[in-house]
Assembly symmetry: C2
Homo-oligomer: 256 residues x 2
DNA sequence: AACTTGTAGATATTTTTATATCCATATGAT
DNA sequence: ATCATATGGATATAAAAATATCTACAAGTT
């Protein structure tokens, strides 16, 4: 059997072999790496197939799509195309297509994605189709802002308790959520079987409270304090850092 | 001149040529793509050199480093290694090293990065070494939280005015910042020559206010409303979306 | 003085993410 | 009925970002 290779190389990849003595005639070589395969007809297809998970970036974009989908659903629309979603979200249509395909959104050829099914697919993927009970620590301005945001109920999150140490805050209700003293945290967490914590306390208090949370068996912490928290590997920490966004804005502003 | 090529190929890349007639003997070929070059000695070095900008991810990490650096500086430390920064920030040391090299942070071989110089390099890069005047629209809970955050002055941002439409908010002072009525926005912006807007208004109002901002010549909008804003290309919009973080947390939680 | 070690510096490689291309198909227009 | 067209599906390519490797060096240790 004769194998005929069609090779096209970029001449700049040629390297001179280290000449040990001055009189040796020069030699050259280059390294070759295969990184792509002819479409479809490869003799050894499937050898390199590896299933991938869904990327973090995709996950972060899903809520945007969801908002548009809710809107279209409210208007009775049955289908929505990636092009249309792109106009609303300013995310490129190809990215949207791939994102939705990744979460298994149902579609109809040449027409678009099915609104209802796509909503369901995203909500299921994120676990937003049933409510998780969460609680908040630190009922200051930011904490109050989060407690006042009713949208969380559409996002699978129900904040059922808040904690603080300030005497003038303890005992209050914010948006119908009772503010307990932090000292009661352990008993309330265990009584209500809470697993998701929202941390909006000052930096100095964050790690100490985190240790308590971990001891209480909390499995997820949404941290708004600008410090990295030390937790055991089975606890998920989601870090929100306002300064990151500002830095990005400043860098973009400077670039102009 | 003789060129000697040393070629090593992965056999799975071989493809069969489409045989047009049944009797033609089979042929095979493969495509070759050069994607790496021998270290240092390439004959055509520099041909492909293209200077790259600093990545978005790097920019977003810079504030974290800055916090640790401020702390070390306060303790009188002169040098800090990427390893040490890694412990505090939980960012891999190699990433830190590359990030700091990218902004041109000064260092000392075998000892680490110079604390003072690195702070200066980051602050200069982000433009945080001199104050930009900003204003905030929407003095609700979230707005008040941002107005109350004194840390912005370390981040090159000085909020000098706030706007709202609620009668009970207009005329107040929050953390020393006066709340004007939104109707006065145009005149105050022009009088104080403001270019950076922080948008913490409800979704329904966001685009309308944005149009006004653009008309007033605002060049940067930090948007906390969960909608994409339509702006001309010369205006920078930085989108903060609380739901993205929540989605990421939920996905991580589900993966466990 | 010779050796060990931890670090930045430079580059290479891998992984992840985004974008492009091509195709089959369903829809609507002609 | 035929055709043009917009779309998802599948795949390929490119770009961005993370991670790994190797070297030179300076500071300590023996």
């Amino acid at each position: 059997m004769i194998l005929v290779f069609k090779i096209s190389v970029n001449i700049s990849s040629i390297k001179e072999v280290r000449t040990l003595t001055k009189n040796t005639p020069k030699e050259y070589y280059m390294d070759i790496k295969i990184s792509s395969f002819p479409r479809g007809e490869n003799l050894f297809m499937g050898l390199f197939s590896k299933k991938k998970g869904i990327s973090v970036q995709t996950v972060r974009r899903l809520p945007q799509y969801l908002r548009v989908l809710y809107d279209r659903h409210a208007y009775g629309r049955l289908l929505v195309s990636s092009t249309e979603l792109a106009e609303e979200t300013q995310v490129p249509p190809i990215v949207i297509k791939k994102d939705l395909q990744a979460v298994g959104a149902p579609s109809k050829m040449r027409a678009g994605f099915k609104v209802k099914g796509t909503i369901a697919a995203i909500e299921t993927f994120l676990g937003w189709d049933n409510l998780n009970k969460a609680f908040l620590i630190g009922a200051g301005h930011l904490g109050a802002a989060l407690l006042g945001f009713s949208g969380f109920k559409n996002h699978g999150l129900e904040i059922v308790a808040a904690f603080d140490t300030h005497p003038e805050r303890v005992g209050n209700e914010i948006n119908g959520i009772h503010v307990y003293h932090t000292a009661q945290m352990k008993s309330v967490i265990e009584e209500k079987k809470l697993q998701i914590a929202i941390l909006t306390v000052p930096v100095a208090a964050a790690q100490g409270i985190t240790d308590t949370l971990v001891a209480c068996g909390v499995k997820a912490i949404w941290n708004f304090a600008p410090v990295k928290l030390n937790v055991p590997p089975d606890v998920a920490v989601q870090q929100e850092d306002i300064a990151s966004g500002l830095a990005e804005l400043c860098a973009r502003l400077k670039a102009k």
